[in-house]
Symmetry: C2
Subunit: 151 residues, 2 copies
Amino acid sequence: MARSRQAAVDELGTAMQRYQRSVQAFDDAVGRALGLGPADLRCLDVLVEGPLSAGDLSTATGLRPAATTTLIDRLADRGLVRRTPSPTDRRKVLVELTPEGMQRTWELYGPMVQEGQQALASFTIAELDRMRALLEVFTEVTDRHRAQVPS
Amino acid sequence: MARSRQAAVDELGTAMQRYQRSVQAFDDAVGRALGLGPADLRCLDVLVEGPLSAGDLSTATGLRPAATTTLIDRLADRGLVRRTPSPTDRRKVLVELTPEGMQRTWELYGPMVQEGQQALASFTIAELDRMRALLEVFTEVTDRHRAQVPS
DNA sequence: GCAATCCTTTCGATAATCGAAAGATATGTT
DNA sequence: AACATATCTTTCGATTATCGAAAGGATTGC
């Protein structure tokens, strides 16, 4: 019999859920390995892409400014990040990964990312683009509904 | 010029990262709406699929048994879950969502899930299956590397 | 029946986060 | 130029969540 669309949709949903949980479990393991909490890890995650001001970190992590300050202190004490004054606005403080911070995170995430990319070899470029399109649709839907969650 | 494979892989990677963050932000919003923390939300997430013993909840959430007890208390006080004695093992306590708990979570996640499924209409069944296959590979890779994270 | 094991809860202590306010810098207006 | 307003980060006290260790019941195996 022909495979039903509903079945394909449902199974894709559970596959995504499973993957989400797997990533969550991985992040937990990394957090334990580094002695850091979930918020700290999220902070490192966004800082990998470049320096950010303390306030931007606050909104990126969803933490209050006060908590963000102690979070930066914690990471700075372990030598993972460092503060530098902003060249454009002297009120701001830029937070950036130290070389050690980059190395530590790359040691933990790098091998998995590399192997994940190799696993994509069995997919055509067209397929990869199609999946990216699907993920972008989902991201848009999720963002839109987040804005509608009663606060 | 022909689109390079490397570019397709990289963009898929960032799309996945973006989606992960979007989901995380959504969960945060739901947590605030319900007055619950991340751990509480993860607890509800796994309980949606069926009742679980307190110990199994402990391992599923990564929390210590002590924290799990207070977590269950918190959710029970808000009427989202309830405890029932296990019929097979009288040492265990089964935790399950109350009807109100199911309704509250469905109110928040349901509309997004529904719209997400509708958004899949523009994809063929073959594409959906292909996407599922990719996610399953990624899940396997992530799980394997999690086991290798130094603890 | 007795010992060993497993599951859950209680207890005290530690650590993370919050809310409000202060201190410092920037921006806009007269 | 000077003043008022807005923005950014930090400090402070209090609340809350989580941990580690141990106790209290229940089950299994000998």
